[in-house]
Symmetry: C2
Subunit: 311 residues, 2 copies
DNA sequence: TTTTTTAATTGCTTTTGTCAAACAGATTTT
DNA sequence: AAAATCTGTTTGACAAAAGCAATTAAAAAA
């Protein structure tokens, strides 16, 4: 993949900037006679719990072996870690934090939190949240193991100001990018929201949102259009968050909500081109009840109607 | 300002993570016999151009005086910097980079860029952009001198998929937060967009967007409702970007567009509570042509109508 | 003028980190 | 099975990075 020079510049500048900041944030380490490397070792040991060897630390942290050996020795004499000889290989030792080591880490983290708090103090609530979000993004893009997991996702069932607009935004931009729909599609979505908001009634309508932090990353809704039938709409999961089961979760919630509200059937309109979505619909008991070829959103598409009976 | 513990956690974790990454990114320094402190000194010297003293470096970089003195000495013997005795104070020296020093910095930055490129290589284009954006955000929130300037803002006059939704989102969430409007307001905005998108005609309608990167941070539009009059709508600048003259710029563009399209007047509807906006309208020649007290968006508001004649 | 303060330097020390050699257990080769 | 090789860890020697305290010289204050 080619590299954008603008991006390189920003990353370099960021690195430059962060180097100064890091100095500030790591100042408290010295108070506990710990080097940055020492800290990283302790953190890693806690992470690996019990199955960590010196070699693993060397490989993972990129520390020189000799230096590490000394670090570990002082840790041992200070009773921050304990060693346990491997039964398989007489050369290797399994390293683990002692309660004292754990405690120190906690103290360290407390100190770090204090430094950070001081840094954040002058910022407004929103800026703080924006900062956390941006940092999470950085980490998440750069590190393999900071991948978003399903645990990071929360769900909301109330519609707050700004939500509708954002869902429309997601639909407009993502369908344009992924399926090539034109502006008409967003106009259509806008119309559906207009109709919905005009007649919003929580006893028959239900929106679900998948959130990452305070960012909407997925949506679905069931809208009671008659006594018996409810329409499912706005089913979408942001591409960065696909494959985590969020779509299924939203769909389940929507179906359950429709059942709870005693609707007899759910129907939805989609296009044949939305393969992953239609696959999911079928897997959840929906069946196709109609299709129609027509020009839509600047393309030649096949509009499909799916339905499911809820008893 | 109180500090959100979730944010503290993320910042701490980020710091932890970035410490490892920094090691990687700063590895090339050793190739040039430079410590991180040394680099920071050089960078600072270039920044300050000519008026930098050792004291200033100590204060700004937080380096120990003795250590700095030695760093500077080796820099001088390597002809990376030159000293010039102050005429005001016989104790202080003004430090400046020599061409050789400048050159070294460039080489260093080239090396850094290479490291960064390697890091970015496996990422997709979008991820790279997202990364740069997030880093910029971090820097921008934390550092005083990375404040956004008017130069960073660009303007766009086309409406792309996703834009409408995002403008609605901004209106919904910001007016809720800043003015306490309820969901009805977003429904209203949605209605205005619905009407607009149904009958969009570029010969009479014009949207302007203020952008920061690829993020919409301000908007305005003039919508030709009749042969003679055009309505101004969706005038909003995100709070993080106020005070940079973006509002005025948008307003000017909108008025000019209305003139170009040969409309005779512009009118707009707002509320008396929008003091900064109405002030700007008046300053630009608008006059109040009506007002009406009424309950709106969950509050008791005064709806105001403003007009301006364009000859 | 004397005293105090301030900008920078120097001497001494500790901490941090690197490199190469050594060592001991494990694995492979002969 | 003995020798050779490889691997995980330790040790010794050393260099670089950084901090602390005392010193010097010019400036400012008393």
């Amino acid at each position: 993949m080619s590299v954008n020079p603008e991006v390189v510049r920003e990353v370099s500048e960021f690195n430059n900037y962060y180097n100064s900041l890091a100095e500030l944030l790591n100042r408290h380490l010295a108070d506990n006679n710990l080097s940055l490397s020492g800290l990283r070792v302790l953190v890693k040991l806690r992470e690996e719990e019990d199955q960590c060897t010196a070699g693993k630390l060397i490989a993972n942290l990129g520390i020189d072996g000799g230096y590490l050996s000394r670090i570990l020795k002082t840790f041992e004499t200070n009773q921050l870690i304990s060693k346990r000889k491997s039964t398989m290989d007489g050369r290797t030792w399994y390293l683990q934090l002692t309660p004292k080591g754990r405690k120190l880490l906690e103290i360290l983290e407390e100190g770090s939190a204090q430094q950070v708090s001081q840094l954040l103090e002058p910022l407004g609530t929103e800026q703080q949240l924006a900062l956390a979000g941006a940092m999470k993004t950085v980490r998440h893009i750069l590190s393999d193991d900071a991948k978003i997991s399903a645990d990071d996702i929360t769900f909301r069932r109330d519609l707050q100001p700004g939500d509708a607009g954002f869902i429309m935004h997601m639909h407009g931009s993502l369908y344009a990018k992924e399926a090539g729909y034109n502006l008409d599609y967003e106009a259509h979505i806008c119309k559906t929201f207009y109709e919905f908001l005009e007649a919003y009634n929580s006893s028959k309508d239900q929106v679900f949102l998948a959130m990452h932090g305070n960012q909407i990353i997925g949506s679905i809704a069931v809208l009671g259009h008659s006594r018996y039938a409810t329409q499912m709409r706005w089913f979408l999961v942001h591409p960065d968050y696909r494959g985590l089961g969020i779509g299924q979760r939203l769909l389940t919630e929507a179906i359950n909500a429709a059942k709870e509200k005693l609707f007899q059937k759910i129907y939805l309109i989609t296009t044949a081109q939305q393969v992953p979505a239609t696959t999911l619909f079928k897997k959840n008991g929906f069946r196709k009840s109609g299709e129609k070829h027509m020009p839509m959103w600047g393309l030649q598409l096949t509009e499909e109607r799916y339905e499911i009976d809820l008893i």
